[in-house]
């Protein structure tokens, strides 16, 4: 193998193993920042030794053993250091000489436990609510996703320096607050898990929505969010909302190729060429949703959104969409996760299932909603319903209003075209 090929092979091994290596070290030193440092040192050692000695048969085990030794060395040094200080005050020698080796041995023994636990602890720590959302996202991509600072920066169109500082500050915050490296206890678990799922879905949406980030990194973000979601499913196989989120992401990802036309313009769900949806991802999404429902999680917010996505995925043609079922799901979603945005979507579904008049009633009830004042979807949906009712002048005015509100040039183009289609003023 050439030197360059070996280097790329090591990089691939690192991508596969890095989160586990960091998690293992963090379990021992109880500090995520220090753990990442130790993991990086371990990688440097591998980069020095493997090109000379050849790749080990089991590179994962090699890395784990190497990082464990580094972590234990570090702890021994710290313990010795602490002991030296104490010698000045009291004669603790007899006690310490027993305590120190025991302490390290006990840690080493504890570290033989399931690595999955460590990885799950790392996931929860990176998504700790003490951190800002931006910091959680960056830290998760760095520690769990194994993305470089440069890759994260490109994905979010943010200077690399900003991302680097964000990560450093996040690690310091965790360290200063002495956040325990653990999976939250039952009472805390739902809220903490919600934070993890929020971070994963944010990463996915950042990749999925065409608003920012460079062309090359955006699909990477989607794929990475999905991969991390699948990892968390493996770690918490009985949490229905994790399955719900993964189902949602799998089904949404299945539409990637149909969401834009050849010129890069967005294509609405109802107009997409469904033959370009990825059947494998749909099948995986439906299977994950089924498992979420079997666990009794059918009413979870992510499971409901996945069920909505599944309704579209099951319809071979747009006309076959089961709108009554979609209305029922939005009714349920409006109970567990009420929001004006859910209401608009519910109005669309009601309009499709029971006629534009019924949809318009819901939309009109939302007119005074302050959260929607600058949201172009409201006039756009209202315009659509009015057009179906033949109230063309009002429809045109709504489309024009929506076009003036959106900041996305391609959407504006689409809305202006719709205004024209219902009869522009002379």
């Amino acid at each position: 193998m050439s030197r360059e090929a070996t280097h790329r092979a090591i990089e691939a091994v690192w991508r596969i193993e890095s989160a586990k290596v960091i998690a293992h070290a963090a379990r021992l030193v109880r500090d995520v920042g220090l753990a990442e440092e130790l993991a990086q040192d371990t990688l440097v050692t591998a980069l020095e030794r493997w090109p000379v000695d050849g790749l080990p048969d089991n590179p994962g085990a090699w890395l784990m053993a190497a990082v464990k030794n580094r972590a234990l060395d570090r702890l021994r040094q710290d313990a010795l250091h602490a002991r030296k200080h104490e010698e000045l005050g009291a004669d603790m020698d007899a006690l310490q000489s027993h305590v120190v080796p025991d302490f390290v041995d006990a840690l080493a023994e504890a570290s033989e436990d399931d690595i999955g636990d460590d990885l799950l602890r790392l996931v929860f720590t990176a998504c700790h609510p003490l951190l800002s959302t931006d910091a959680r996202v960056a830290l998760t991509l760095r520690l769990i996703g194994g993305l470089t600072t440069d890759e994260i920066a490109r994905a979010f169109l943010t200077p690399e320096k900003t991302i680097a500082q964000r990560i450093v500050r996040a690690k310091r915050t965790l360290s200063e607050a002495r956040v325990p490296f653990e999976v939250p206890r039952a009472a805390e678990l739902p809220a903490r898990l919600a934070s993890v799922l929020e971070v994963l879905y944010l990463v996915f949406n950042e990749g999925y929505s065409a608003t920012a980030g460079d062309d090359w990194m955006r699909p990477t973000l989607c794929a990475e969010a999905l991969r991390m979601g699948r990892v968390v499913v493996g770690l918490m196989p009985n949490e229905s909302e994790v399955l719900g989120l993964v189902a949602l992401m799998e089904i949404q990802a299945s539409r990637t190729q149909a969401r834009t036309d050849a010129a890069g313009r967005p294509v609405l769900l109802m107009d997409q060429d469904r033959s370009r949806w990825d059947p494998l991802l749909i099948r995986r999404g439906l299977a994950a949703l089924e498992r979420a429902e079997a666990l009794g999680g059918a009413r979870g917010p992510y499971a409901l959104q996945a069920a909505l996505a599944a309704c579209h995925a099951r319809a071979r043609r747009a006309e076959e969409t089961d709108w009554a079922q979609i209305v029922a799901l939005y009714d349920a979603l409006a109970v567990v996760a009420p929001s004006p945005v859910v209401e608009i979507n519910r109005a669309v579904a009601v309009g499709m299932a029971f006629g534009p008049e019924a949809g318009l009633e819901i939309v009109d009830a939302l007119a005074a909603e302050p959260a929607l004042a600058s949201y172009h979807w409201l006039p756009s949906v209202r315009g659509d319903l009015l057009a179906k009712l033949g109230r063309l002048d009002e429809a045109r005015a709504e489309f024009e209003r929506a076009a003036a509100m959106t900041r996305n040039a391609r959407e504006r183009e689409l809305l202006t075209a719709r205004a024209h289609a219902v009869g522009a003023p002379p």
Binding site: R8, A12, V13, R15, W216, L226, M228, A262
Partner: protein
């Protein structure tokens, strides 16, 4: 990017012989690793070609030919489909694949990259990849 790891058939797989329990366990734990890493999309074993058939398209006609088929080494016995971030990552996972017929028994594992739907975009792929390259480069600069 997606890769398919294909296990080639052997006289044993074509005879429908069940793998020994050690091999089954090794395969299960390998696939569990893939799943835990979030890269496993699909995997399955195939029954002997004796239970399959082929359709030959010749001179505008279709002919059905029942299995088994003679050229054992050209047949496949199973596949594992993974989604990874690089060719090297696929290579590393393939390297960890257990010897498909058990250690010490000859076998072949073939790895192939799948086309992605974007490989069939109506606009010129060359243009697209140049664009990607350009944005990549400018972001690095």
């Amino acid at each position: 990017m997606r890769f398919m790891m294909i296990v080639r058939a052997t006289p044993d797989t074509e005879a429908g012989a069940m793998p020994e329990s050690g091999l089954i366990a090794a395969m299960a734990s390998y696939h569990e690793e893939l799943a835990k890493a979030g890269v496993l999309l699909d995997a399955t074993g195939l029954q002997p070609s004796a239970k399959g058939w082929r359709i030959h398209y010749r001179n505008g006609q279709r002919h059905i030919v029942d299995g088994p088929f003679a050229e054992t080494k050209e047949l496949i016995a199973g596949y594992t489909l993974i989604q990874v971030r690089s060719r090297e990552e696929a290579m590393e996972w393939a390297r960890r694949f257990p010897a498909p017929m058990g250690e010490g028994t000859d076998a072949i594992l073939e790895v192939r990259q799948l086309y992605e739907s974007c490989d069939f975009e109506p606009d010129q792929p060359a243009e697209r990849s140049r664009k990607t390259q350009a944005s990549h480069t400018s972001a690095r600069a």
